[in-house]
Symmetry: D2
Subunit: 333 residues, 4 copies
Amino acid sequence: MRFFSDNAAPVHPRVMQAIAAADTLDTAYDGDVWSRQLDARFSALFGTEIAVLWVPTGTAANCLALAALCPPHGGIVCHEQAHIEQDEGGAPGFYTHGAKLILAKGEGAKLSPQTIAAVLDPIRDDVHQVQPHAISITNATEYGLIYTPDEVAAIGALARTRGLGLHMDGARFANAVAHLGCTPAAVTWQAGVDVLSFGFVKNGGMSAEALVFFRPEMARDARYRRKRAGLLFSKGRYLAAQLLAMLEDDLWLANGRAANAGARLLAEAAGDRLVHPVEANEVFLRLSADEAALLRAAGFDFYDWGVGEARLVVSWDQSEDAIRPLAEAIRAL
Amino acid sequence: MRFFSDNAAPVHPRVMQAIAAADTLDTAYDGDVWSRQLDARFSALFGTEIAVLWVPTGTAANCLALAALCPPHGGIVCHEQAHIEQDEGGAPGFYTHGAKLILAKGEGAKLSPQTIAAVLDPIRDDVHQVQPHAISITNATEYGLIYTPDEVAAIGALARTRGLGLHMDGARFANAVAHLGCTPAAVTWQAGVDVLSFGFVKNGGMSAEALVFFRPEMARDARYRRKRAGLLFSKGRYLAAQLLAMLEDDLWLANGRAANAGARLLAEAAGDRLVHPVEANEVFLRLSADEAALLRAAGFDFYDWGVGEARLVVSWDQSEDAIRPLAEAIRAL
Amino acid sequence: MRFFSDNAAPVHPRVMQAIAAADTLDTAYDGDVWSRQLDARFSALFGTEIAVLWVPTGTAANCLALAALCPPHGGIVCHEQAHIEQDEGGAPGFYTHGAKLILAKGEGAKLSPQTIAAVLDPIRDDVHQVQPHAISITNATEYGLIYTPDEVAAIGALARTRGLGLHMDGARFANAVAHLGCTPAAVTWQAGVDVLSFGFVKNGGMSAEALVFFRPEMARDARYRRKRAGLLFSKGRYLAAQLLAMLEDDLWLANGRAANAGARLLAEAAGDRLVHPVEANEVFLRLSADEAALLRAAGFDFYDWGVGEARLVVSWDQSEDAIRPLAEAIRAL
Amino acid sequence: MRFFSDNAAPVHPRVMQAIAAADTLDTAYDGDVWSRQLDARFSALFGTEIAVLWVPTGTAANCLALAALCPPHGGIVCHEQAHIEQDEGGAPGFYTHGAKLILAKGEGAKLSPQTIAAVLDPIRDDVHQVQPHAISITNATEYGLIYTPDEVAAIGALARTRGLGLHMDGARFANAVAHLGCTPAAVTWQAGVDVLSFGFVKNGGMSAEALVFFRPEMARDARYRRKRAGLLFSKGRYLAAQLLAMLEDDLWLANGRAANAGARLLAEAAGDRLVHPVEANEVFLRLSADEAALLRAAGFDFYDWGVGEARLVVSWDQSEDAIRPLAEAIRAL
C-alpha cells in the first residue's frame, strides 16, 4: 500500500462525475457557467467578497500569488524548507522575473514573527540589498504542522507593520482547517492573508487548484499573467467543475478530515518515533534502514526522509481499515 | 448551433473513458505507466525516435518550443497573424525571457521562404539588432490554409541554410494531416521541423497537448522548463491517458477528417463568399451585417471577423447532418 | 572627415574638465556632491520638480523608462523604425521582462495620434491580447524630424485618454529643443510626457545620460532597477559632473544648435536630394553608388542607408568651416 | 581620512591621462583602436588566448559571467556572504532570468570543495530541484581572504567533476595577485576558472572592469547580452583606454601592492583585534562603540560591521605615511 504522497491519489468520485457532467459545449476559457460561479461560491465559503482563479497546479498557484505580491526587484520571505524554495524547480524565479526568496528558519518548516524578523532586520534599506515585499507561509507546513489563526495573525500583523504582502501556500489547506476546526476565514483573511493557494489536487481533485485573492482587485493582473503563463485552458469548465464539486457539501473538508484521521492512527502507533507532532496527514518518524526494509517487505511503500527517518502520507481515500495494518506493523517494530 | 470555435467542444467519449480508466493510484508527475508510453507511441506514429512531453495548453506547448529554440537575446520569425503573436497574451515573451517575434507577411497567415527571407535579409549581423534563431509556422494556419510537405521542406531548407530552428504550431495538425493525406512524418521532421506542438484539445481532447521534439536531446532542458513553468501536473496520468486515447486507432485523424468534412460542406455552400480556400475546419466568408443577423436569428452562432466577414469553425463532434442546416441557410442568403 | 554618427564624437572640453575636477575622494555611488545636485539643477531647467538619475547609455535610459511605465505582461506603442525596436539589441525585452513593442507607422519615424490609434483600436480588451500601457516617441526622430509641443501634446492627450504612460527618447533632445526654440518644459511635461531620456553622449558628453522622471515618485523603483541592472557606478560623480557641465550656461543647447547649423548647410546643398526635411543634425539624401564613391574618395565618410540613399550626421564639434567642403562636394555632384 | 571603501577613491593619474588621450574621434562602440587591443593585451598578461569585454561595473561583469555559465532554470553555488548574493540588488536574478543562488558557508566568505559539496550533495537530480550549473568564488573574498592557486584548483577540479562552470569575482583580483606573488594565470585558468571579473575600478580605474573569458567562444553570446543590458557604450574607447593604462607596466599590480601594504600596517597595529587574517586591503577588527567614536573623533572614517566590529579599507592612493596615524591611533586604544 502506498504512503508516498497524497499527490498521486485517485480522484474523488464526485469530482469525476462533475467532470463528466461538464462535458457539454460551452464558452471557452473561463467564460463558462462553472467558472463564472467560482467567485460567488468561494466568497460564500470565506464570508467575504473575493476573486478566485482556477489554475492547474499548486506551483502555478503559488507563483502567480508571489508575482502578484512582489516586483522583480523585490524579495519574499519564506522558510528554508518551503516548497517554493525546495521543490518547484525555480518556478518562483520564473514567475517573479527573478525576485529573491529570503530564507528564514523555524522548527517543522514553521515561521514565526521572530524568525521572520531575524532575516528582515539586517536588510539595509538601500538599493544594494533586495528589499522584502512579501511573506509566504505554508499551512499545513511541509512537515505537517499547522498555523493557528493566532499564529497567522501574528505574522499578518508583522507583515502589515512592515508593509509586506502575505501569501499562504495551502496545498494542504483542507487538512489545516480540518485540524483547527475554525472557519476558513479565521486562518486567512481575518488573520491578514492577502492571497491563498487553496489546494484541491492532493485532496481528491484531478487538476484544479484555487488561487484566492482576498483583495479582489489583485486578480485583474493575475488573469493576464495566468494567460501569459500558458495556464488558461480553453476548456476551463473541467477545472471549475472540479472546484465546485469539492466545495459542494464541504467535500474538501470531509476529505481533509479523513486523511488527518488516518495519519493520527499512524502517529499513535509511532509514539516516540515521531519527529514532528502529527497535526495534518503527514507522519515523519524515525526508522532505521532495517525497520524500513521490514515495512516495505510487508507491502508498505513510502519515502525515506534523510538518514534514519521516513515520511508517510495518508490520502483522502485511505480508510482507517486500510491504514490499520501499517499502524500495527509500526507498533510491532 | 455553435460555430464559434473548436476549442470549447466536448471531449470525445473514448478520451473521457481513458481519463476514467486512469483513475487508479500510480506514480506522480510523469512517472506513471501512461506517461512512460508516450515516447514509444509517438515515435511509432512518426517513424523516428522522438521525445514527447504532455502539456495542458497549446500556448504552453508553443512557448516551451520557442524557448528551446531561441535564447533570450534572439528572435523568432513568425507570421504577423500567428497565434503566438496575436493571441497568447505575450506568453512567448514570458517563456523566452524577452526574445523578439520578427513579423513576416503572407496570404492567409502562411509564410514562404520568400516572405521569411524578406524580413531576415535586412537584419545586420551585429549586436545592435536582434538576431534570428528560429522560424515558427502554423499548420493549418490561423486562416485554415495548409502547408504541404514540399512547402514545409522549402522553409526547412531555408532554416537549415541560415542556421535557424524550425517550430510548427500544430494546434490543428490533425486537420492538416487529414487534408494532406500524407504521413505525419512527411510534413514535420522529414521536412525539417525540429519541434511540433501537436494539438489535441481542439480535436476531442480535454486538457492535453503533445510537445514533440524530433531531436530528443532537446527535451531534457524542456522538462526542467515545464516544471519551472508550473506545468508539471502531479497527476500527469490523466493527461497522458488522453493522448494515448487519441492515438489509439488514429482517433486524432478521424476527428480531424470529420471536422474538415463539415467545413467543406459549408465551403461549398459559401461559394464566392469565401475569403480563403477551405482546407481545414475553418471557413472565412464575406457576410454583411444583415446576413450575419439572419443566420444568428436562425440559431447559428459564430464570430464576426473584422467588418463584413465572419469565421465559422467546425468541431470534431459536428456531424454533416448537424451542419447541413447552416450550409443551406448560407446558400439561401 | 567623418559623418557616420554623432555618437563617437569627442567630448566637449568643459565636460572633460568637469571630469578631472571630480577626481577627488567622495562618497560612492550617487551620494556624492555632484549627483546630489542633479534633481535641483534639472528641476530648474524644466521649471518643475523632477527626479533625475544618471545612466551611462541611451539604451539604459530608454529601457529603464519603459520598465517604469509598463509591466511585463503589457505593451508599448512605438514607431516601427524606433531605436528601441531596431537598434537596442532587444534591450526593451530584457528590461521589461518581455513586454511587447507594438509597432506603428508614420513618415520619418514620426507618430501621430492617428497612427497610434490605428494600432491601438484593433486590440481586444481581453487576456489573449497584450494590452498597451505606454507610448514611446523619439524627439528628434530617428530620421531627424522634430515633434512640436503641439504634436507631443496631441499624443499626450491620447495617452491620457487611454490610460497610457508617455516616454520620450531624447537621444537628440538638444537638437530638438534647439530647432524648436521652445522651453524644454513645453515639449515634455507640459505636453504630457512622463519620462524623458535626455541624451548628452551624442552632444558632447562622454558617458552620461539623464533619465528624467516628471512624476518624481516613479524614480523610487527606478533606482532599484538601475542597481539591479549593474548600472550604479561606484564613482558616479564622474557621470554627474558631466551632466552638470552640460547644463552649465546651457552648453547642451549651444552644442545642439551647432550641430543643427552644420546639418542645415548640408541640407541646403542637398536640395532635391533630401529624403526627409532636415530639422535636427541628420541629413538623409538620395545618392547613387557612384556619387557616394566620389564623396568617399574626397575623404568624406558616412553610412549608406538602404539602396540609393545615405545618412550624414553632424556632430557638435564640427564647425561650419569644416562642413563646407562636404556641402560643396554635394552641390558639385 | 576615509577608510570607508576603495570604491570611491580617485582615479590614477595615468588612467586620467589615458582617458584624455582617447579624446579623438574614432569608431563607436568597441570598434575603436583601444578596444581592439584588449584581447591581445590581456592574452599576453594571462599567457593564453582569451576574449575580453569592457563593462562599466563589477556587478555587470559578475552578472554577465553568471548568465554565460548558467541557464535561467539552473543554479550557481556561492558563499552566503558573496557580493552577488548580498550587495548587487538582485542583479544576478535579473541577468540570469531568475536562476538561483545556492548558498554555501565558510570562514571569511571563503568556500572549499567540502563546503561546496555540502550544498551540492543533497540536491536530487530531478526537475523539482534547481540543478547547479556553476560555482562563483570571490578572490580576494568579501572579508579580504585570498584563495591560493591550489585552493582554486581544488574547487576547479570539483567543478569539472560535477560538470559545473567556475566564475571568479575579482573585484579585488589585483590585491589577490599582489599577495600571492603568482602569475594571474596560476590562480585563474590554470586552476580551472572559466570566467573572471577582473576589477579595476577599486584599484585606480574610473569606470571600466574587464570581463575575461578563458574560453573565448563564450564571449560571443556575452557581446549580445552586453548590448541587450544597455552596457555597450557608444564611446567605448574611454573604457578600453582605462584598462590599457592599468595594464601598462603592471600599474594594476603596483596599485594592488600599495593598498595591501597599507592594510598590513593597520593589521600589525590591530593585533589581537583582527577578526580575519589580513591578506588583501581590507581590515576587519573588533572595536567597541567607544573606541570607534574615539577614532572618528580623530578624523578617521570607516564602516561599523555588525556590532562591536569595524571594517577599514585601504585604497591604492593612500601612502603608508598617510595611514600611519590611523595605525598609531589603533595601537593607542
